[in-house]
């Protein structure tokens, strides 16, 4: 359940931003969670609700966006979209695939009042 400690990071970042931008309530939080980021979106949502209690983001809704993972095939050298780390190359059928994108884990934007 390292999603809980990630939620604590999110809370800290939002609190910092609230002091900087002078908002007192967060309605919505958009998170970008890459498919290879070692994070389970459902666990993150669960942790979010619990950890945000008592902060400016208490009761805020969470939108999780995921951009596809990209990998380079070491056999055909082409770049392709993959779903999991052990997928074979969707272009040549071989592999192995070396991941080049998909581990993003960030707060993209906030809707605040």
């Amino acid at each position: 359940m390292h999603e809980m400690s990630l939620c604590e990071n999110i809370r800290e970042i939002i609190q910092e931003q609230a002091e900087k931008d002078g908002f007192t309530r967060v309605n919505r939080v958009w998170l970008e969670v890459g498919p290879l980021s070692c994070v389970e979106p459902d666990a993150l949502r669960f942790g979010f609700d619990v950890v945000m209690r008592g902060s400016v983001a208490e009761g805020a809704s969470v939108e999780i966006t995921t951009s596809p993972a990209k990998a380079r095939c070491l056999t055909c050298q082409q770049t392709a979209t993959v779903r999991q780390r052990y997928d074979p190359c969707p272009l040549c059928g071989a592999g192995p695939m070396e991941m080049i994108q998909g581990d993003a884990l960030k707060i993209s934007k906030l809707e605040v009042v």
């Binding site: 359940m1 390292h2 400690s5 990630l6 990071n9 999110i10 800290e12 970042i13 931003q17 609230a18 931008d21 002078g22 908002f23 007192t24 309605n27 998170l31 290879l36 980021s37 070692c38 994070v39 070491l74 999991q84 780390r85 052990y86 592999g95 192995p96 070396e98 991941m99 884990l105 960030k106 707060i107 993209s108 934007k109 906030l110 809707e111 605040v112 009042v113």
Partner: protein
């Protein structure tokens, strides 16, 4: 701050008027791991400047990490000062086992925590005060999931997988095998008693990470330990060379 309601939005103006109570969007693009990564960078700088090799050992509980470390330190410590950061939810059993070899060890108890983070490790390394040119082994909390996502400032993650865990562990827990540079397949002495296909285990690990170096070891019999020590010495030379630059 807004003088009308104290909402803290007094500085926001739209068309010259105080913008009040209307939801607005703020683009952030802030990395959630940034704080940990900042501490990890500081740890890494310190290790590089002092020519210290730092290795982060990760595995599920019971793979034999501590036993490997005990044997490794006994084989290494005449030539190189070794230090250990031990991570467990509870007890100081592992640090006690390491200290019995004569190597300094600090035990971090994470309580309910499932991983070590770079901030904890920085403090533990302060307590250890490793000499320049030494080796710091960080034995992470036994967990094949969460520690994969946390950079501690180490030069390499080393994943330990015991053969009793089955061939498909790399496929079931791919993040850890993707993050590691070296895999030790431990308890190899048990192979004659098991139905495990070790070639398939190796192939599965390479499906996740084509560049993974894999060494079969038995901390109990000593098999493969010479190859593991050779790998450590090479990495240690590279750390010394980086410090000299």
């Amino acid at each position: 701050m807004c003088g009308t309601c104290g909402c803290g939005e007094g500085q926001v103006q739209i068309d010259g008027k105080h913008h009040h109570g209307q939801p607005r969007e703020i683009a952030l693009e802030r990395d959630i791991m940034a704080k940990n990564d900042g501490y990890a960078d500081a740890n890494r700088r310190r290790f590089v400047e002092d020519g210290i090799l730092a290795l982060n050992l990760v595995s599920s509980p019971g793979s034999g990490k501590t036993e490997i470390l005990v044997k490794t330190i006994e084989m290494l410590s005449c030539a190189t000062p070794c230090y250990v950061v031990e991570g467990d939810q509870q007890t100081s059993n592992d640090a006690d086992r390491i200290r019995a070899t004569g190597a300094p060890a600090v035990q971090i108890n994470t309580g309910k925590g499932c991983h070590l983070d770079a901030h904890m490790v920085g403090h533990a390394v302060d307590d250890l005060g490793p000499k320049p040119g030494g080796i710091v082994f960080i034995e992470n909390v036994g967990n094949l999931v969460c520690p994969a996502g946390f950079d501690l400032g180490e030069a390499h993650k080393v994943v330990v997988l015991s053969i009793t865990e089955g061939e498909d562990k790399p496929l079931k827990y791919p993040d850890m095998f993707a993050a590691a540079d070296l895999a030790l397949i431990n308890k190899a002495d048990l192979l004659p008693y098991l139905d495990v296909d070790i070639d398939l285990m190796v192939a599965n690990a390479r499906r996740i990470n084509p560049r993974l170096v894999i060494i079969q070891t038995s901390a109990k019999t000593g098999a493969g330990m010479a190859d593991w020590l050779k790998w450590i010495r090479t990495a240690h030379h590279l750390a010394a060379a980086a410090a000299a630059e």
